[in-house]
Amino acid sequence: MTATKEQYQEGAVQSGGEQTRTITLIQAVTEAIAEEMEQDSRVVLFGEDVGARGGVFMATAGLQERFGKKRVFDSPLSEASIVGAAVGMAVRGLRPIAEIQFADYIGPGFDQILSQVAKIRYRSGGQFSAPLVIRTPSGGGVKGGHHHSQSPESYYAHMAGVKVVMPSTPYDAKGLLKAAIRSEDPVMYFEPKRLYRAAKGEVPNHDYTVKIGEGVIRREGSDLSLIGYGGVMPDLLKAAEALSAEGVSVEVIDLRSILPWDRPLVLQSVEKTGRAVLVSEAPRTANFMGEVAYVIQEQAFDSLTAPVAQVAGFDIPYPYVQDKVYLPGANRIVAACVKTLNY
């Protein structure tokens, strides 16, 4: 399941001297959709404002013009009908990509995800399935207040029947989205909106996918495993860099997939380093990283030289003015690492 180092280092994925391009994370999203629509007429894209407007973040800009209103269309302002209609389309043989404008708005569609998306394959004994993708901008850091900044991925990881992913680089964003669209299973695809334009990186010109369930080592190290996903990843790398200046060797892991997640990669790393610091910006209580911590203590207990630490958001609705204070930045991550190292 675990990818080799060569596979996940950005810009090092190409063989035979193939050309790469540097693009932003949001361009990666657009490209992934366009390429999949190009090669599979079953793929349709819809949601609020995705058509002429191209989405509020412009993730779908130009796609309606290119593929027509039949394949790229605006839906009524209704998350329940966006998610629910995607189920019905998928059951009838299409490959819908449904955009929810902000992850914070999924609420009205939650019952559809819980009752229909996640269950229909199981409860019909495999007679019907819903291979669909729900894409949505997620997380904070854009001064959005609590209705434009939440990180609800843990809810969906708790809901057997859907897969949950969150990329942090253009390479992964494109590869994971293509994998999600081709998947026979419903995939919740969370897009870290503060990295939409902040994350730039190389992608190959050839077609590729990133396997759902595979994490990646962003930086190798031997003293401590720093594990995260999504919008916090640049902060993990910054923290690792700062610690490196102090002579600490930090291994940075990007989970990329939250469910299923790459347990072998994490366990292997922790067995090597003996310490783990888990980072996400979602509220701490019932945060998915609690599951990661549990598995580490269950399966790598003998390797641990310090308790597993968690850096998370707070158990409060996401605040507007205190945006930057709320988020676990590099300083908070470094402090947790130091505490763990000194245990």
Partner: protein, 369 residues
Amino acid sequence: MIEPFTTQPIRYVDPDGTPTQALPEKYTPELLRDLHAQMLRAREFDRKLITLLRQGRSTFYAQASGMEATQIGLARSLRAGHDWVWPYYRDHVLGMALGIPVFELLSQYLGTNSDTSRGRQMPHHFASKRFNFASVSSSIASQVPPAAGTAIAQKYLGTDEITVCTFGDGATSEGDWHAGVNMAAVNKAPCLFVCENNQWAISMHSRDQMSSENVAIKARAYGIPGFYVDGNDIIAVMEVCTHAAEWVRAGHGAALVECLTYRVGSHSNADADAEKFYRTRDEVNEWLGRDPIARVEALLERLGHPVTPEERTGIIEATYREVDEAVLKAEATGEPDWRIMFEDVYSDLPDHLREQEAFLRAEQTGGAQ
């Protein structure tokens, strides 16, 4: 031409069997006897399954007695196995009328190895891919947005199929209902919404469920036609549903049919005695007087083609035999093995489920660590 938005339910035959208007030619005595036989079979199916429940062979049943004309009349407007159905949980009669074998229904009801849902659903929540009969969810109205989606896909794919979505009157209070109907309406998707208004959502009467004069009138707000039908008059149901289905099939968009009917039994076996808690014997008696089966019998009598007691008994006995045989055949297939419990969550078996399956295997085979 059948007009939408009538203030009184559209009716062709009064409860005493008197036609209220000239019946279309197709309603020959042969067809009427066929409809009668199907309704009687459904009624006795309910009776037989409640007996099975009392014998402890299952745990849940939601009878449709009193609603046979609505479900069978609707089925007659569809092309079985071609059109799609997103049903609600009381639609076994609709399923039977579309041709789903009693054996399949019983297999699901009993949770045997022959159950197409593989024992994952509580009794009465069946699915049949062969009949494009999507899986029943208990979550009220959650089938409505998916039905809109299936219809949108049918339009996208350029098929001549339509999608039918059924629900009770209670479902119309849910956000999903409004979201789904609106979604189908704005997309001009070939979706026929059918409200089987049996007037009670467990203990909540439809007059307390909504303040509009009926469900059909709500269609106006979504810009689609709404038909209000006497759901205990099978001819009216057939005529209106066929008319609406053809209209939908012709590419005009979605339509809504409300069939005003009544469930004479309780909501389910878990609902104890309805008359003790939330409705009166007088009300039940009044609706028993509008019974859909008795109505066709009275009509046939009037037309000079009465159903004889022997014929009635024959249908009832054949139904019981059919159910008994299906039960034995289904039970002979045994219970689904625990091993399949982890299948169909995803298209593949992720590592974490593989491990959980291994744990259970060890436990079940006596080798747990």
